[in-house]
Every structure is written in structure tokens, then in C-alpha cells.
């Protein structure tokens, strides 16, 4: 669809006629946001929850369906098939707003042709040549379309064939959801979509933390687009973020392969040594992203100020370049193999809640130095002192810097609705604690001082970096940088005058504007207006409450809330529409469309930018302006259409294809990262989650929270408990090829065995919140999970695993074998070249 954010906003869930929650324990993990689900329910909406466990969310839902963890694409794919075969999709929406009518190239081959692989697979490199995953073009280079949906290779018919074997019976035999339950849910979804009604989907890490995580979410987009629920009130796909500022963290780019504002990080794997080359390989010629040069140049001006000039490419060469996969998991292996010297851990606890936590902790023994900034000492910062370790043998120099808590600092957080909300400081930081902002500002200042006398060209990025966040007018700790000034720079300003820029439409590619994060432009539109501080609510869209990117739009792609002619699909679902008399888009939200571009504006063939889109193409960020049911070449590494693969560790064989697992998924087969390859030894499905009462180290030290869920526990069904001699409330051991953990057993009928292809499959669940420090403590499932990951976004697979269990307690941890032989060919270097697909 085009943007890295939920298409909807949380309070709008109250306007839904049906809410499907899958891959999320909404009520437990997001209890405050769940109030809007309850409001929808009170207004008569049907709430559906699909999950391996019967949770507090299920308890509030109208329909609960238990599912075998990791099989969601079978369920969602079967919905796609059911909607197409029964002609229950929203025909006008699908034909106007998606690429359903685009004709796919003749040389594209699907998974049914190649038993689980798409065309272009290269076994030698373990990756796809995605050239054939594209559309047929005519002599003028225009995509061939068939609005009648009769062409056998139009996307809708490709989907129809692709999902033909994803039947209700396949759902029952693979997911464990009975045929009757599946068709009941399908009927409800279809009945609550269309002109008059809308259905919302909500998901969280229960969909993402899989070896095909991106494809799980993609498949939900297929269903919602076929139902015509994107861009409309009470519709959309709500990506529920797990922590308060997760959305902000990706917007401002803590991800290694992105610059702030979803600009790609320059890569040495492509030829991008100049700004022109970088733009040539990354800029889309049509659609909104044609504006990319303005955002890149403005960002470089924000980074490097006066030093950035047209003559020196605006200091583009200062930016680091990717030389491979620098994401967390491969870097952890590189650390373990002695190829990482230093490590900052801030607000994270990989030594407990990380996957293969012992790999993380033992890898840290190989560091020269380690810095932890946190409010509490935790399992990561105390790795040198952990059970079984010998501190006298560890040479890592460790620094623990006490961090101010959220109440002790000011600034913004960007929540799950893409909304920035400013919070003030309520208390002075305790003791010698400092804010994260102070630590980084100080680090920058000291680096600048350290290199002040250097004339070496390679030190210019540090010397030229703009780094002026002092504000003598603001009261506060001496040396405390101004969070307001940071936000003002993120928003952007005119370089000549220093005046704030009001909108990203005003950003320029000539160096006359600077902006740290283009999508945030508008949050601080003039010298005194901080819209993140605004708290004006109303009974509608509350556009005066906080500020949401982009341009304070609450529902993304809301052009689709009107029909192709610009009229609301129905009076009941009126949201944004074309005002004929004024000649502009209007409504209760900020239109996500050029304001005066009429619905009947034709697309101009061969034009660039927005002129290439018609007045009826709502998905403005995409090259063709249409939502991508079929994702063309170059955007995803593993599939243009989601296909079901079993989790890497599964007791069940893939019922659809000979290709068992995602062929592009990343695995590390090493002695310190052992997988459960034998389902016979590890027959039970293991899933992980968090609970309401606990977050992690910051709650385990709070007695009021610790008493509510005081010890690590494992949920299992009564039948399995009897079979294994495990008693409720007593200790049990959970084991994998990687390791063991113990927990108290919580035996409950809320966990239920499933029948999968005639085989009894038991699922157990362990919360992620615990560690060995704090009042509430216990082992973490991080001790059990070997690292593996999705090929697109480097997310680990930690929701669908296998294990064995027994009654009793685990043995005390032995001294970790840090010298455990890892053969040379298995070792990893920093930024190792990416075997699976070029960057």
C-alpha cells in the first residue's frame, strides 16, 4: 500500500462493524487501546479472535477460533479464495483501486507449477531472480490491463489459481479450525464489508515474528483489499505496536537499512557513490516518491548544515554505506565470532528477552567494551556475573549509565496511530540518571572535541555534523539539550532564514530547506506551534489532538473512502469526498490526496510524479497508484503473492508444497544455535507472548506489578499435563535442542489440543516477560529459541517453535563453553555478505 505504518488509527476501531484480531492478544498487550474495540462491540460490532490460545482477548470476543501457530497464511489465503470463488469481494473497489486487472508476465510461474517455489529461483545463490514477477507491458511501456477480469493472467485470476487449494478443508487439516467455523467467519467478514459496512483487522507480533512474517501481513492486506476496507472509516489494518514509541523508532530509523523517513540507506552493494547514483537506483519516477530528492537533500542539510552544498553533493559521501546485512541477529553471531569490538544497548534487554539469550550473553564476553543505558540493572548488563559465568575470565570493559525514566524527561512519543504526542517532565531524574538525549548530545560534543584538530578527510562527517541543541532560555539541568529544538530540526526549516517549514510540500532539493525527517514536517510548523502538544479532542476525528504523520492524516489512503467519482461509498461510511462546488477534496480527515486534483483527472501516460496517476488512484506512494495485490519485482525477496510455508521448526509437514519452509528464510546451523530438526524428539508446538501485568525488567522491579504475575509460567492443556505427569502450580521443564528452561505449570482448558490431518497436536505457551532479576522472576523462553529470520525485514521466528516438556526442575546452568567449537566456515563477520538476495 505504500507506507510503513498502520493504515488506520486506534479510536477509529470504534466505527468498525466487525473486527478481526489475529496475531495479537489485543486486550492483554494493548488494554487501553482495547477500549475502542469494546466501544465497537457495544455498538453491535462482531469481534473475532483467532489465536493459538484462548486469552483475555478471546474472552471478550464474540467468536474465538483456535489456530495452530504459524499457519495463518492458510487461513487468510482460504479467505482470499472464498471471496473470489463466491464473488463476495467488493468488485468496484477492487477493480478501481487495486492492481487486480493488471496482466502478469507470461514467464511468471507460480507455486503450483514449481511445488512451492516461484519462477526465478536460483538454488546456487539461494535467492530469486525476480524479473518475471512483473506485469506485461505494451509497445509504449504501459502495463496491459483487463478490466473484465477475463484474461487468465490478470492478477485476480493469478490469485484465484494460487489459492485454489487453500480450501476450508485445508484450513481444518492445517490450522485446526473446523470448516463450519471458517465459513461462519468468512460470511461475517463479507457481510460486514462493502458500501455500507466496514471491517477492521488488527495484528501485532503474532503475525510478524515468523520466517514468513512479512507475507502474513501481506496476506491480510489481500483480504482487506478484496473486501474494500482500506482507507475507509472503521476499516484498515491496525498494526499494534508493542511499546510506546516503536512506531517512532522505525520512523526515525533505528533500522540499519533505513535513513529517517523511510529513505533507503546508501548501499555499496549497488553503485551509489554519488547522490545522483543513489537517486537513480532508489527514486521511483511515478507517484509521490518522485519527490524523494527533496527529502534526501533536506535531510543532508539537516545533518551537515552549511557544509552541505550542491558542489559537494550535499555531503552525500559522508553517509555510511551498507556492505551487507547489519541487522541485529547476524551482528550477534559476528560478535560471538570475535568480530565486533563495542556494543551499545539502550532500552533493550537481549540477554533475557532476546532469542538465544545465552548466545547474546556469551558473545558479549568477546567485546572490548560494552555500554548499557537503562533505568535498571538487567540480565544484559550483568552478563559477566550470570549463573555459570566466571567473571575472572571476562575482559570486556562494561559501563552502566543510569537512564532517566519517561516521567523524568520531555519529548515526543509516536504511538501506533502514527501520532506524535509531547509529554512534559514531571520529576527530576533520580540520582545521577540522565536522559538518553543528554547522553547522545554529550557523546556528539565529546567526539567533536576529540577530532577538533583533525584535518583528515574521513573525520569531516563528525566535524561538519550540526549539533546545536542548547537553549539558554529553557530552564533545566545544565547541559541538558532542548528536546524542542530537536523536534524543530526534525520538522525542518528554511536554511537562509531559520524559519520553520510548514509542510513537506515546501521542501526543496536545492539546499534551501533542511528537514531531519520529511514525514514529520508539519508537527512544528512555526516558531511557537508544537502540534504534538495540542490536546483538542472532539467526537469525530479529533484532528486537534496530537499530530499524526503524514500531514496530520488519521486514515491513510482515505481517497478510497469515496468511489472513483469522488462520492462517498455510502452515507453511513462518509469520510473524505470530492466537493464539486469548491473543487477540492474535503471531509472529516485531512485528505490523503492532492487537494484540488479532481476525480476525473486522467493519468498522463509517460508523465512523472503524481501526473502519472489519475484522480481515482488512491495509493499515492506507489508507482501505479493502485494497491498491490500482486507485488511486482524488486520489492519483496521471497514471494510476489503469499504462500504457506511451515515454520522452520514444526511437527507437521507442509500439506501444500514439497517446499517445506520459506526458501529465502535465514538460518544459522552452528553448534551454538541448534534447531529442533527431529519432530519426534520435540513433538509439541511452542508459542511465546507477553502478558498485561509485565513488560520486562522495568516492571519486574515494581512490587505492585510483580505480585500480579510473580513467576515465569507455562500454559498447557489438561490432557497433555496428565500425559506428562505435570501438576498445576508445580515446576516443569521445557526443552529444545538449544537449551532448557523451567517454569511453573498453569494447566488450563484455555489451551486445547488440535487435530491436524488426523494427528493430535498440543500447543504450549510461555510468556516472554521474565528473567533472573527483579521481584517477579524466572527463566525466559529466549533460552530455548535458536536464531532464524525472515528474509525481508530480518525479524526472528519466535512465535512458532517446537519443544519437549517434563515435570520437575532443570539442572543448574553449567559454565558456558565460550570456546565451543564453531568451525571456521560457519563464522560470521560484521556486515557479512548477504547470501539470500542482494540489498
Amino acid at each position: 500500500m505504500g507506507r510503513g505504518g498502520a493504515t488506520a488509527w486506534v479510536p477509529d476501531l470504534a466505527n468498525a462493524d466487525c473486527i478481526l484480531i489475529q496475531g495479537s492478544n489485543f486486550a492483554e498487550a494493548h488494554p487501553v487501546a482495547f477500549r475502542f474495540v469494546m466501544q465497537a462491540k457495544e455498538r453491535g460490532a462482531t469481534i473475532i479472535h483467532i489465536d493459538p490460545r484462548f486469552t483475555r482477548t478471546s474472552a471478550l470476543a464474540d467468536i474465538f477460533a483456535p489456530i495452530r501457530s504459524g499457519t495463518d497464511i492458510v487461513f487468510l489465503g482460504a479467505l482470499v479464495s472464498w471471496l473470489i470463488e463466491n464473488k463476495r469481494y467488493f468488485h468496484e473497489y477492487v477493480s478501481a483501486y487495486t492492481n487486480a486487472s493488471f496482466v502478469v508476465r507470461q514467464d511468471f510461474q507460480d507455486t503450483d507449477d514449481l511445488d512451492g517455489l516461484f519462477s526465478g529461483w536460483d538454488a546456487a545463490s539461494g535467492s530469486y531472480d525476480t524479473t518475471s514477477w512483473d506485469f506485461e507491458r505494451d509497445a509504449q511501456g504501459q502495463i496491459v490491463t483487463d478490466e473484465t477480469f477475463e484474461h487468465p493472467r490478470c492478477v485476480l485470476n493469478v490469485l484465484r489459481r494460487h489459492y485454489a487449494r487453500y480450501t476450508p478443508e485445508m484450513v481444518e487439516n492445517t490450522c485446526g479450525i473446523p470448516v463450519a467455523t471458517f465459513t461462519h467467519i468468512a460470511e461475517i467478514l463479507a457481510a460486514n464489508s462493502g458500501r455500507e459496512r466496514t471491517t477492521a483487522f488488527a495484528y501485532a507480533v503474532g503475525w510478524t515474528q515468523h520466517s514468513s512474517g512479512v507475507q502474513f501481513v501481506r496476506c491480510s492486506a489481500l483480504v482487506q483489499l478484496l473486501l474494500g476496507n482500506i482507507g475507509r472509516p472503521g476499516g484498515g489494518i491496525m498494526a499494534l505496536r508493542g511499546h510506546a514509541d516503536i512506531q517512532g523508532a522505525t520512523d526515525i530509523a533505528t533500522l540499519y537499512d533505513l535513513l529517517p523517513g523511510y529513505l533507503p540507506m546508501p548501499s555499496a552493494l549497488r553503485t551509489e557513490s554519488t547522490l545522483a547514483e543513489y537517486l537513480a537506483s532508489n527514486q521511483k519516477k511515478t507517484g509521490w516518491w518522485a519527490n524523494m530528492p527533496k527529502y534526501v537533500v533536506s535531510q543532508l542539510k539537516a545533518f551537515y548544515g552549511k557544509a552541505a552544498t550542491p558542489e559537494n553533493d550535499f555531503c552525500f559521501s559522508y553517509l555510511p554505506q551498507l556492505i551487507g546485512d547489519h541487522s541485529m541477529l547476524p551482528t550477534t553471531f559476528a560478535m560471538k565470532d570475535g568480530n565486533v569490538r563495542g556494543y551499545f544497548v539502550i532500552g533493550q534487554n537481549p540477554g533475557a528477552s532476546g532469542q538465544n539469550a545465552e548466545l547474546v550473553r556469551s558473545a558479549m564476553e568477546r567485546l572490548e567494551w560494552f555500554v548499557n543505558i537503562d533505568s535498571f540493572e538487567n540480565e544484559t548488563s550483568s552478563f559477566w556475573n550470570r549463573e555459570g559465568a566466571d567473571p575472572s575470565t571476562i575482559a570486556t570493559e562494561c559501563f552502566f549509565l543510569p537512564a532517566a525514566t519517561v516521567l523524568e524527561k520531555e519529548g515526543t512519543m509516536t504511538q501506533t496511530s502514527r501520532m506524535l504526542q509531547w509529554h512534559d517532565k514531571a520529576l527530576e531524574p533520580a540520582g545521577t540518571s540522565k536522559t538518553d538525549l543528554w547522553y547522545f548530545y554529550e557523546l556528539g560534543k565529546r567526539l567533536k572535541a576529540l577530532y577538533a584538530d583533525s584535518s583528515d578527510e574521513k573525520d569531516r562527517p563528525i566535524l561538519d555534523m550540526t549539533w546545536e541543541y542548547d537553549d539558554p532560555d529553557e530552564p533545566g539541568e545544565p547541559g541538558e539539550p532542548s528536546a524542542r529544538k530537536v523536534l524543530q530540526e526534525i520538522n525542518g526549516y528554511v536554511t537562509a532564514t531559520g524559519e520553520q517549514v510548514a509542510s513537506f510540500a515546501d521542501l526543496k532539493d536545492d539546499g534551501s530547506t533542511a528537514s531531519g525527517v520529511w514525514i514529520y514536517t508539519g508537527v512544528f510548523p512555526d516558531a511557537t506551534t508544537n502540534r504534538a502538544r495540542s490536546r483538542v479532542g472532539d467526537d469525530s476525528t479529533s484532528l486537534g489532538w496530537g499530530w499524526a504523520w503524514p500531514a496530520n492524516r488519521r486514515t491513510l489512503y482515505n481517497r478510497a473512502s469515496a468511489d472513483p467519482l469522488g462520492r462517498p461509498w455510502s452515507e453511513r461510511k462518509k469520510y473524505v469526498w470530492w466537493d464539486e462546488t469548491k473543487g477540492e477534496w474535503t471531509g472529516v480527515d485531512v485528505p490523503d490526496f492532492p487537494k484540488t486534483k479532481a476525480p476525473d483527472t486522467p493519468a498522463i501516460a509517460g508523465a512523472s510524479g503524481m501526473d502519472a496517476h489519475s484522480g481515482a488512484d488512491p495509493f499515492i506512494m506507489l508507482a501505479q497508484g493502485r494497491a498491490q495485490l500482486f507485488v511486482p519485482a524488486g520489492e519483496l525477496k521471497d514471494a510476489p503473492i503469499p504462500a504457506h510455508y511451515e515454520p522452520l521448526q514444526s511437527p507437521i509437514h507442509n500439506a501444500l508444497y514439497a517446499q517445506e519452509v520459506n526458501p529465502m528464510m535465514r538460518q544459522w546451523r552452528r553448534p551454538d544455535n541448534r534447531y529442533n530438526d527431529s519432530p519426534h524428539d520435540y513433538p509439541y508446538v511452542l508459542t511465546t507472548y507477553r502478558i498485561t501485568e509485565m513488560s520486562g525488567i522495568m516492571t519486574r522491579y515494581i512490587p505492585w506489578l510483580a505480585e500480579l504475575q510473580p513467576e515465569a509460567f507455562c500454559e498447557l492443556d489438561p490432557e497433555l499435563a496428565v500425559e506428562k505427569g505435570i501438576r498445576n502450580g508445580e515446576y516443569m521443564v521445557i526443552s529444545t535442542a538449544l537449551g532448557e528452561m523451567e517454569a511453573k505449570a498453569l494447566v488450563s482448558g484455555r489451551m486445547r489440543p488440535l487435530r491436524i490431518n488426523g494427528k493430535r497436536v498440543h500447543q504450549i505457551g510461555i510468556p516472554y516477560n521474565y528473567g533472573r532479576m527483579g521481584f517477579a522472576r524466572g527463566d525466559s523462553p529466549g533460552e530455548l529459541i535458536a536464531l532464524s529470520m525472515d528474509p525481508n525485514v530480518s525479524i526472528h521466528e519466535s512465535k512458532s517453535l517446537t519443544c519437549n516438556i517434563r515435570a520437575g526442575r532443570r539442572a543448574p546452568l553449567a559454565t558456558p563453553d565460550i570456546e565451543m567449537a564453531v568451525p571456521a566456515q560457519m563464522r560470521t563477520t560484521i556486515g557479512e555478505s548477504v547470501a539470500h538476495g542482494a540489498q
Binding site: R56, S58, A706, E707, L746
Partner: protein
């Protein structure tokens, strides 16, 4: 005007925000860290230091489609009875009915005799141990939570009875009680009791119309046993006993006539017996 709580359990999501908000506002210590294995309930019951408690009741039929399964959640609290057993039993006058119609324990008047504990028909009131390092809660917990034990209300009042004050201090400032303020789904509603009762009755009608015929009020009307109405009443999805609430609570003092009569009968009986024995002797 009497104020109170309408706890609508059909809206409860079991998040326990009420328990935490209550403890934080009232600076109550934790009750210890032990896993019960009783669903998601690890605080077990109301106590002198737990003034809101969320009960979890699993009713799992385990049918394949899960339609029959229920996981009931309900936040329990002091009922602030119209005729309160604790208030009647209190010999020092520590327990009073305040200007908000709430049953309130004045900690500086309480002498810790414990009569109120056995006189509560709902098992709400409990004695708070002194802060001297009992197993139930320790000063270590308080220190760890960055609370200064010397400043908490309880520091001066160990060995007294404790229960929900209906956030008397907040009410005097015009603020909503902490639990109701924290509840994300309006399962706990605070306000004028008469208004809340009206709202609750409408709500039951709505639920019955939706087919949820087991929905019932607890304590909105006279609950019997001499207790009268409850200023903190509940809307339940099942019988009260399912939530560990008494089906037929009785005010202890209503048993006094019976008790006196029984004593009189026994006295007469003993007199006759004594007379008979002495006579035969």
C-alpha cells in the same frame, strides 16, 4: 448525595489496572510474590492491603469451536453497604459513614480489635499487620518501590483494619477514585449511586435483549439479610457464587434477636435442669 461504584463485569478485560492504581494511590504494599496456579489470579482475595481484586473464573467447555467457552473477570471491592456489619461492630467508633455515604475506617481511631473483620458479610475487611517486616509485606518492598515507608499512611497505622476508602481523599478534591480513573473499558464506573443504578438497570435490559439472559445485578437493589443496598454494586454474567460472592449475605446483627432468644432458651433450660438436679439431690 451518596457516591459509589457500578462494576460492570461484562466490560472487564482483566487487566488489573484497578488493583495497581489503587495500590499506587493509597501507597499500599504488595502482598508478596507467589504463584498460585489459579488462572491469572495471584493476589487471591481482598485484604487489608489489597482493596481492589480481580477474580478470574475459567468456564471452559472445550468444544471445537470454542463458542461455549467463557473466562469471567470481575473486579471486587468493598461494597459500602447501606447497613454495614463492620460499622455496627466497631466498638471505638473508628468506622463511620462519611459525607459521600461511604463506609470509612479512621485509622487514627481504630485500635485493631478485629471485630469488623468477622462482621463483614463479604469478607472484605482485614487487619493490616504492623509494618515490622512480616512475611505478608515487608519494608524492603516499599523501599524497592522507591516509596518512603515513613510517609505512607500505613506507617503510622500498622495493626489496624484496612479496606477501600472509596478514595475519600480524592473525592474531597473532586477527583474520581483511582480504580475508576484507571479502568480502560469503563468496567468500573464511579458516580452518584442513584444515577449508577438507573444506568445499570438499563444495561441489564440491553444485555437481556441481546440474549445474554444470565446477566444480573448484585446489590443494586436490597440484597436481603438486613444489608439493604450496596453503594458498590455489580453487574455479573453468572450467579454470584461463581465469582466467590455470597448468594445470601446476612448482616450479623440481624442474628442478634435469634441469638438472644437462643441464649434465653438455653438459660431457661439450664435453670430447669439445675432445678431438677438439685431437687433430685
Amino acid at each position: 448525595m451518596a457516591t459509589g461504584f457500578f462494576t460492570d463485569t461484562t466490560l472487564c478485560i482483566g487487566c488489573k489496572a484497578c488493583e495497581v492504581a489503587c495500590k499506587q494511590w493509597n501507597e499500599l504494599p504488595s502482598d508478596g510474590f507467589s504463584f498460585t496456579g489459579d488462572s491469572y489470579d495471584n493476589t487471591v482475595e481482598l485484604s487489608g492491603t489489597t482493596w481492589r481484586h480481580v477474580a478470574f473464573v475459567e468456564q471452559i467447555a472445550a468444544t471445537p469451536d470454542g463458542v461455549e467457552d467463557r473466562w469471567l473477570m470481575s473486579s471486587d471491592v468493598c461494597k459500602h453497604c447501606e447497613n454495614a456489619g463492620c460499622l455496627e461492630a466497631c466498638p471505638t467508633g473508628a468506622i463511620i459513614r462519611n459525607e459521600f455515604g461511604s463506609v470509612y475506617i479512621q485509622p487514627d481511631v481504630c485500635n485493631g480489635c478485629g471485630y469488623c473483620v468477622v462482621s463483614c458479610p463479604f469478607g472484605v475487611v482485614d487487619l493490616i499487620d504492623s509494618l515490622g517486616g512480616t512475611a505478608k509485606y515487608s519494608t524492603a518492598n516499599l523501599q524497592e518501590s522507591r516509596l518512603d515507608a515513613s510517609k505512607t499512611a500505613l506507617a503510622h497505622t500498622g495493626g489496624v483494619a484496612g479496606k477501600c476508602t472509596l478514595c475519600y481523599d480524592r473525592q474531597t478534591l473532586g477527583m474520581v477514585p483511582a480504580c475508576a480513573k484507571a479502568c480502560p473499558t469503563d468496567s468500573i464506573q464511579f458516580g452518584d449511586v442513584a444515577t449508577l443504578r438507573e444506568r445499570a438497570k438499563e444495561r441489564v435490559t440491553t444485555l437481556h435483549a441481546r440474549g445474554e439472559t444470565s446477566a444480573q445485578l448484585y446489590g443494586a437493589d436490597d440484597i436481603g439479610g438486613g444489608i439493604g443496598t450496596l453503594n458498590a454494586f455489580f453487574l455479573l454474567k453468572d450467579r454470584p457464587s461463581v465469582y466467590n460472592l455470597p448468594e445470601r449475605p446476612v448482616l450479623p446483627s440481624t442474628r442478634q434477636p435469634d441469638g438472644y432468644a437462643a441464649a434465653a432458651v438455653i438459660a431457661v433450660g439450664l435453670a430447669i435442669a439445675g432445678w431438677a438436679i438439685f431437687r433430685s439431690a
